[in-house]
Symmetry: C2
Subunit: 287 residues, 2 copies
């Protein structure tokens, strides 16, 4: 499955970097997307598409890639000086550090746009599936409840932690599960809970990593939640409470998988992600 994702992302970036493109901005897009992280959202999207029959693999590939492009865009913008002011991401310079602030801002914008474009290009033969998929991608990305909204809560004096996390991290996981279903012609609603629970687990795991690991282990600056006074699960529940919450959420995620032909395989994938999310360092912290 990773090959399908990388192939779809490369095709998208090749299109966006066409001969008439300004070369530095094209380079910034490439830098933002390759080499990737775990590509966990697009893998989840393809896993749900497969569980639903995946009758239009070109469309599910585009859905998976579109979600990853939005994720990469959000990382580029989040790393900028007016947010996290981070110089490192995945062990290499962030886009604004490697290129410039203007090019990082534009790269994020262009990646958001590209996400919608590849979805539309892949849906030309199945246009009836497109409106719902665009609405899903948009509503989980923008306002009032997508990742932009989640990030926007960080500017508010008072924040509902659960609403904040659901928007900031959870929403792209819900986009992944629901759009995987939609790409295969299935209804999205039965897949909302799985995405929401995996997203919640990721946020808790991310909070734990930020609190417990070093910059070398993370490949980016550590201790950012405390440094930026951001609400997080560790400050709310303590390390033990956060690890326990993570286990509970992942158990619920697997239980929520709807009955479908690809159910068993999907359970395996979610379990593997769960193992990845609870590394030995967390156990060490509990000892």
């Amino acid at each position: 499955m990773p090959d399908r994702i990388e192939t779809a992302l490369m095709a998208a970036l090749t299109h966006a970097s066409g001969p008439s493109a300004p070369p530095l901005l094209a380079g910034a897009l490439q830098h933002a997307v390759f080499p990737g992280g775990a590509r966990v959202r697009p893998q989840l999207c393809l896993a749900v598409a497969a569980a639903c029959g995946d009758d239009r693999p070109t469309l599910s590939d585009a859905a998976a890639a579109s979600i990853e492009l939005i994720h990469c865009a959000s990382l580029v913008h989040d790393d900028m000086p007016c947010f996290d002011d981070a110089d490192l991401r995945r062990g290499k310079p962030t886009v604004h550090a490697a290129y410039s602030e203007p090019l990082a801002l534009l790269a994020g914008d262009a990646l958001i746009v590209l996400a919608f474009e590849i979805l539309a290009r892949a849906a030309i033969r199945t246009p009836a599936r497109l409106p719902g998929m665009v609405v899903a991608l948009a509503s989980h990305t923008g306002m009032p409840g997508g990742i932009c909204a989640g990030q926007g809560w960080e500017s508010e004096a008072s924040v509902d932690l659960s609403l904040y996390h659901r928007a900031k991290t959870g929403s792209l996981f819900v986009a992944a599960t629901t759009m995987g279903a939609q790409a295969a012609g299935a209804e999205p609603e039965p897949w909302v809970e799985l995405g929401a629970r995996i997203g919640e687990a990721f946020q808790v795991a991310d909070d734990l990593r930020d609190a417990l690991l070093t910059q070398d282990e993370l490949g980016k600056p550590a201790g950012q939640d405390v440094a930026h006074h951001r609400p997080n699960a560790v400050s709310e529940l303590g390390v033990k409470g956060a690890v326990q919450k993570l286990h509970d959420i992942l158990g619920g995620a697997i239980a929520s998988i709807p009955s479908c032909p690809g159910e068993a395989r999907l359970c395996e994938i979610v379990s593997a992600q769960a193992k990845r999310l609870t590394p030995v360092e967390f156990a060490r912290a509990l000892a």
Copy 2:
């Protein structure tokens, strides 16, 4: 027609500012879109839709509003400190000046996303028209040839002025004419030239205004092209040459209007825009 545009924009913003939205970011979106400028791109979009029969006014309204949302997003991002560092826009504080840099960055992102979302919501009953419209909006907004690409050229050491202007300013006018046609079920290609010529005229007029008018007349800082060493028509052709070019382009725009039922009305609208673009100050500069 302006009422249709404002109504569609208000509906979009109301959706994006729903009860679960972070209030400051919702305020920043509102600030970015209202009160508007001349709304020239959405007017052009609706004029072309009308010329093509406008059989789905809800879809053409959404197309018009989507283009204006992208335009507003680009203004919000362009005004930020890493680009123009402008505190004033349309005579009032820019979004980052009134709210903050993080909220301006997020507001631009959310407006881009909202543009695609309203298009998809309006196309649920005519999905066959959606793929082409999303591709049009995206390709004129992002990379390799949309407004992001145009802005990206400003980071390059060497720039083709015509390619730069076509992407930075022309592309949203081409989106306006072609999406107006597509919303009415017509082919987009015959409408490319009209959009391209009006876009080129706007860029030349904008360069002239930036060079000749004062901050009070503009409602934003003047002399920005020179201050930021940006390529522009006045530095390339001189004031007289730029005014002459503007006249030539507008003549060509009217001549390019395809034969269609609404042709006469559309010629009137373009002529009225042409008058607006060549104010007495330009004649004064030539005297």
